[in-house]
Subunit: 334 residues, 2 copies
């Protein structure tokens, strides 16, 4: 059977989901829904046009064919409102990533899904998502030990945005970089305590507004504002490189990311074991999309089996992610 996917929000993630569906033998695109004027949105799928949000509200047009709705908005304002709002009408899945607000978001989505007798999944992607799974596995298999999560080398959208808000900045890209010595310490099995500064450094590529020279006092003020910015940069060693808009466009237009989850612990017989999981992604949104569509399959199956309410990656048996059946999985992957 074919699972028909709806996409709400057509930014990098929405476009990634549209592409990721093509790699799945049992999925097709039902529709892309947007708050913008649908006619202003050019989809990548030939012959398909975007649909207005009102169709999703009413369940009309392309929305009538949606089996699973993937919410591709942002965690700051879109998802806290959209996911609970649609969870009583559709099988919804989002990549809500504000870790501290997950319990609250779960509660809201769970209530809506139960009310509509639907199934929903929140916080699906790689962190939260695959990294969460590896934190959980690590804690279960090595109950006595230490956890380490490193991010990068990759672009942090939030940090890039924070730099762009500084006066005198025309554009910026920020890379989060794990520090090799800290990674090696975590891998050693000696469970070191690592400070924020020891674990990551921050590399900023900044385009100054026209008329500001990179060696001016004004540029130095920008640099100071960046490196001392509370929460974002002050606890890190931060380097600032002033470059031209052309260089930024040419060298820093990608959205690579990745990271490492380590669990280091001792067995009850005092033997050291280290589990390491890592991702190296040339495109953060495209990989996140690939994860989302695999979990959309699982969501659809679990709904068909009668599961209701809200779930997370923790609640999904891995076999549900695959288009292959149990016998094939046991024969070829076990």
């Amino acid at each position: 059977m074919t699972i028909r996917i709806g996409i709400l929000g057509y930014g990098n993630l929405g476009r990634g989901v549209e592409k990721a569906i093509r790699q799945q033998p049992d999925m097709e695109l039902a529709g892309v829904f947007t708050r913008r004027n649908p006619e202003s949105v050019q989809l990548e799928t030939p012959g398909m046009t975007a649909s207005p949000l009102s169709d999703l509200e009413a369940g009309t047009g392309a929305a009538a064919n949606v089996d699973v709705l993937i919410l591709c908005g942002g965690s700051a304002t879109d998802l806290p409102e959209q996911t609970p709002h649609f969870a009583d009408k559709y099988l919804v899945i989002d990549s809500f990533d504000t870790h501290a607000k997950i319990p609250e978001h779960f509660e809201a989505v769970n209530n809506a899904a139960l009310k509509g007798e639907k199934l929903a999944m929140i916080s699906c992607g790689w962190d939260p998502g695959l990294f969460s799974l590896n934190r959980l596995f690590g804690n279960c298999f090595l109950p006595e030990g230490a956890d380490y999560t490193f991010w990068g080398r990759g672009v942090s959208q939030g940090h890039s945005d924070a730099i762009r808000r500084i006066e005198g900045v025309a554009d910026a890209k920020q890379y989060t970089v794990p520090i090799e010595a800290a990674l090696e310490a975590a891998r050693s099995g000696e469970n070191p305590e690592l400070t924020t500064r020891q674990k990551h450094l921050r590399e900023c590529y900044v385009v100054l507004e026209e008329g500001i020279s990179p060696d001016s006092e004004e540029a130095e003020r920008v640099r100071q504002e960046i490196v001392t910015m509370p929460n974002y940069f002050d606890e890190y060693d931060t380097t600032v490189h002033f470059i031209s808009q052309e260089e930024l466009n040419e060298e820093h237009s990608g959205m690579p990311h990745g990271g490492f989850v380590l669990r280091s612990g001792k067995t009850a017989g005092d033997q050291t074991c280290v589990i390491e999981y890592s991702l190296k992604l040339d495109s953060n949104p495209e990989f996140t999309s690939s994860v989302l569509v695999a979990y959309a399959r699982a969501l659809h199956r679990m709904y068909e089996e009668g599961k209701r309410g809200c779930i997370t990656v923790f609640d999904v048996a891995p076999a549900y992610l695959s288009p292959l059946d149990g016998a094939e999985l046991r024969a070829h992957m076990l």
Copy 2:
């Protein structure tokens, strides 16, 4: 509630399970069952004695208290017979690792478990087990790509045994070693094809029988027999070190192991992504035991929820592995 664990077979794995239970807040040891004379078996748990196999058969004595029975025998002859045999009487879990015979073993255990209205799990550990999970995840998230599994650096019991059967050999230990250049090639994202010889090499530490000198013709014959042994060594670059029994005991008595699972692929937007999972284990049997007891928890819960038949790691939602509840997991690990 407390889950009471029974252990069948008291070798390295059985002793590992006995220890691993101590790290679990909700488990206790119900009994250790052995084919040997129980009085000849000295358990590590103070005040507890081993029980005869006849107790397991009859469900008497310590066997009356077993919630989950962990089968700690070998895959060659013990498990194919024991797991189906006990699967209709107990919730059983094994670490059957003969990959080619998994479908057949699954069938036998599934039939027995269904007949007795029980739940069973086979092939649980790290390979098959955690490595299988990572092969499955990799294929689901990067449907277009290549798989790589590397083992080691670690002791292969099968290869060590094969060397010990050669005339003139008193004792031996064989390490499987992943070749760094092949690992790097797999990590590159270029999906290279790697031959058996390119991926691993084999290091042998061999004690010759008394009277055979390491630089004799007889020693050279032993070396030749090792490096040309079909299936075991002939497709690998193999090094043979002749050492004394004392050195073998002092330097090579551990059972370290580990390895790497990589999935390298392209998103539908042609972006390269690499997923890597690795284990570095000072004790193979103790880590395998830790995995087994976490899955024993899951097995017990899924049985309580009404699941029957045979399952594998693919069928277990990760949350079932943890003693923490869903809200705690979402708040602290997602």
